[in-house]
Structure formats: structure tokens, C-alpha cells
């Protein structure tokens, strides 16, 4: 199980980097002649020049990987485990992400958060029994904050770039965040495929199954409630990442897009670019 996944992961890693390299210049160049995929109406898919590839991969992840492998296994796991067990399993893995949660805030100029991450790691690894419990948040009010290289790039002002879907390993990402992937593979130990080279058992697979189980309800509801599952997932990805980069600081900073969103019906003549 691990071997093919790992090999696939690496192959895709290389492939993804090639994709980054070949696509990143195109948005800048698209000012002149419109790209081949451009329709009469440009906006919605502006961040998605790779839509053909992405939709195919999204379909593959959803209708093949999830439907026949990951989903059924996750449902099996859900049948024999209590929800709290799944939460604690996730907390164990997330605790291992400490190096990333410590280094990234420092790179973002937020050493205070690095200190919080350090304190959380010490407390949860000891009192929290190797991270299974989270006394740091429960008793010390040290809140968890997930950090990765992509967020740091975002803080530095690097735009997200094109949306990107990769089979199995990245159901939703973007060029910027995927560029941070190699760093995350080293630092965010609980999230990586890299360290599983050195781990003898199927921890990585177990972690992914557990995560899929935790996301089950959400996944089902998005599937059912969306008209275009792919477009819904893409929109949610970009929104969530923007919030993560602002560290959840409230939407008060997002005034321009959200205002436009709520205003447009009052303007009977929408401003066309």
C-alpha cells in the first residue's frame, strides 16, 4: 500500500513542479492575446487556467480514489471507532507538525506565535500523552494555529496563482501552496509523505483514512448541496486559504470582494471591466 502511494507521490511532485514552471508565466502574459480557454465571460475561472487537467484529476480523486478506495475504507474505520477517537488520532498527528508551526510564524514575523507553538508542543507531548490530548488549549488557552509554507508565501505577498488538483496527494491546492510542498514535507512531519520513508508501518495511510473519516459529513453535504462540486471546492479552497493567511483575522480586511458580492444586485448596471 505504502510503496505505490509513495512512488506516485514523488512522481507527481516532480510533475507538479514542472506544471508550476510551465504555467506561472502565463497569467502575466495573458494580458495581450486571450488564452485559448478564455470564453466571452472571463472572471470566474480566472484563477484556473489548468481547468481541463484539474477537472479530470478532480473527477479521478472523487469518482475513483474516494469512491472505491478511500471512502469505503474510511467508512469501515468509522464503523469501528468513536468520533472522539478519530479526533484524538488527528491530534496526535497534528502535534507532529510542530516544526512547521514553529518555523513558519517566525518567517512571517510573528515570533509570538512560534513561542505559542513551542509551548503547545511541550505541554501536549507530555501532559497530552504524545499529543493525543490538547491540554494546551483546554487549560492554558494556547490555541492551535496551522501553518505551512504556502501561508508564509501568502504573508510575503505572493499571490496564489492557478488552482491545482493532483491525484491522490493534493485534492485541492494552488501553484503557490504547492511550491511550498517540499518544505512542508520536511517540517510538517504529521502531514508528510516524506517521513513515511523512515516509518515501517502504514501510519501515513492510517492518517489519511482518519482524516477522510473526519471530513465525511462535510464532504457529503458539499457534494449534495453543490451544483458544480468542482467549482464549489475550488471557491472554498481559495477562501479558506485567504483566511488562513490572515490567521483568521476577521473578514473586516476583505471588504472589497465581499462588498462587491453583496452589492451587485442593487447596482442595476454592473460595472463591466
Amino acid at each position: 500500500m505504502r510503496r505505490p502511494l509513495r512512488a506516485l507521490g514523488l512522481a507527481l511532485c516532480a510533475g507538479g513542479l514542472l506544471a508550476c514552471a510551465s504555467t506561472s508565466p502565463s497569467p502575466a502574459a495573458s494580458d495581450g492575446p486571450p488564452p485559448a480557454t478564455a470564453q466571452v465571460e472571463p472572471p470566474a475561472s480566472e484563477r484556473d487556467p489548468l481547468q481541463g487537467w484539474n477537472r479530470t484529476m478532480f473527477w479521478f480523486n472523487d469518482q475513483v480514489v474516494d469512491r472505491y478506495v478511500l471512502g469505503p475504507v474510511a467508512h469501515g474505520w468509522m464503523a469501528i471507532s468513536a468520533p472522539t477517537v478519530r479526533t484524538h488520532v488527528e491530534q496526535f498527528f497534528d502535534n507532529l507538525n510542530f516544526p512547521g508551526y514553529f518555523v513558519q510564524p517566525a518567517l512571517q514575523g510573528d515570533p509570538h506565535q512560534s513561542a505559542v507553538a513551542l509551548a503547545r508542543f511541550i505541554i501536549n507531548s507530555s501532559l497530552g500523552v504524545a499529543g493525543v490530548f490538547d491540554p494546551a488549549e483546554a487549560h492554558f488557552h494556547l490555541q492551535k494555529r496551522k501553518e505551512d509554507m504556502g501561508q508564509t508565501f501568502g504573508v510575503w505577498g505572493i499571490p496564489p496563482g492557478s488552482f491545482l488538483v493532483l491525484p491522490v496527494i493534493e485534492p485541492a491546492t494552488c501553484v503557490r501552496d504547492f511550491a511550498g510542498w517540499p518544505v512542508d514535507q520536511i517540517l510538517n512531519v504529521g502531514d508528510t509523505y516524506f517521513w513515511s520513508w523512515f516509518a515501517p508501518y502504514g501510519e501515513t495511510a492510517f492518517r489519511d483514512v482518519n482524516r477522510r473519516a473526519l471530513a465525511d459529513e462535510q464532504l457529503t453535504s458539499i457534494r449534495e448541496a453543490s451544483l458544480d462540486f468542482y467549482a464549489a471546492a475550488r471557491d472554498a479552497y481559495f477562501k479558506r486559504r485567504a483566511v488562513a493567511i490572515r490567521n483568521g483575522a476577521d473578514d473586516e480586511t476583505t471588504q472589497e470582494p465581499s462588498d462587491d458580492l453583496y452589492q451587485i444586485d442593487d447596482d442595476s448596471s454592473p460595472k463591466q471591466p
Binding site: L227, A231, D235, S258, I264, P270
Partner: protein, 223 residues
Amino acid sequence: MTSIRSMTTRVRSSRSAALAALAAMLLAAPLAWADAAVDGAKASLQVTTDQVLAVLNDKSLDKPGRLKKLENIALDRFDFPRMTLLVLGKNKSQLSPEQLSEFQEEFKRHLSLTYGKQIEKYTSDEKIQTGDARVEPNKDVTVKTRIVGGAAGEGLRIDYRLRADGDDWKIIDVIPENVSLIGNFRSQVQEIVTQKGVGQLIQTLRDKNAQAQQQQGTGGGAK
């Protein structure tokens, strides 16, 4: 000499007091409005959540009955026509009046079906905490809530955006974990309209609703 000085200071202080009072009044007027808006929106949302909780805790209802009641609450508390327009955005101009009214009907059904189904998962184990609210630049009010306990696990943040409707407030957007429902639907609508056209948009919505309705029916029948 001393008396004159004390008099001038008194005059000056009373003048500055008047100025301060004036400034306070000027500032307070919009602040008072904002407070009233926040209170109104919060109260309105509270009524809604109380209604929902009452339905969820009503053990005498069977599943279809409960869903029906939740849908009715949604129909009453959400401003569906406005939500439809927000979701369509500038694509609205591409719909004929008949298509617009059909879309509006189907979208309303879609939202009330999915909303009912989402909410229906929750039981009395979960608690809804109403948090801060803020006034948006366009005078909408966003109220933060958090669902904790039970199936919500670590806690689920849901913000509601409300717009004044006469004396009342109606929900115009639901924002779970920072992802606006309206924004999310708008990008889907944009995608479908660009790639497949308006006809396909309405057809997709119709299919989705038929599917949801059917599921709801079988779900109820199994009970």
C-alpha cells in the same frame, strides 16, 4: 485677579463641555444606530435559532415532519429573492423573465431542502452560541455563531449576514467556516453559465432538487 482667572477657566471648561457634548451627540447618533442594528439583527437571529431548536427538540415529530418545519422556518427567515439575485450577480441579465422566476423557485427549494437536511443532523446535544456582531459597510449586520458539542466536535463556526427588512431582519447569507454560501454558489453559477449556458444551469438545479426530494422521501419512508 484670582476670581477673573477662575471665571475664565470656568467659562472655558463649560464651553469645552458643550463641545464635548456636541461631539458625543454627533458620534453617538451613528453609534446608536449601529447598536440598534446589531441588537435587532442578533435578536432576529436568536428568534430563528430558538425556533430551530424547538423543532429539533420536539420529539413528537417524525423525520419528514421535522424537515417540513425546518424548511418553513428557512422560508420565513431567509430573504430568498435577494439571495437569488446575489447568486446570479451579473448573469441575471442572461435569464429571461420566465427563466428568472423558475431559477428563483428552484433555488429556493434547493436551499430550503439542503438547509433543512443540514440542520436536521443536529440534536439537543449541540449548543448554539451567539457571539459578536458587526455592521458591514453597506449596513448589513454579520452575526457570528458557533455550534459546539455533539456532532459538531471541536466546534463549527457559522456566521450569518442579515439585512434590514422593514422592522425585521432577514438572513441573506450563511457563512460556515468563512466560506460564504452566496459566494460559493455564485462561482458555481458563473462556471455553469459560462461553460454550458443558462438552460443547463436551471436543469442542473432541477435535477439536484429532484434527487434531494427523493432522498428525503426514502429517508422518511425508512423510519
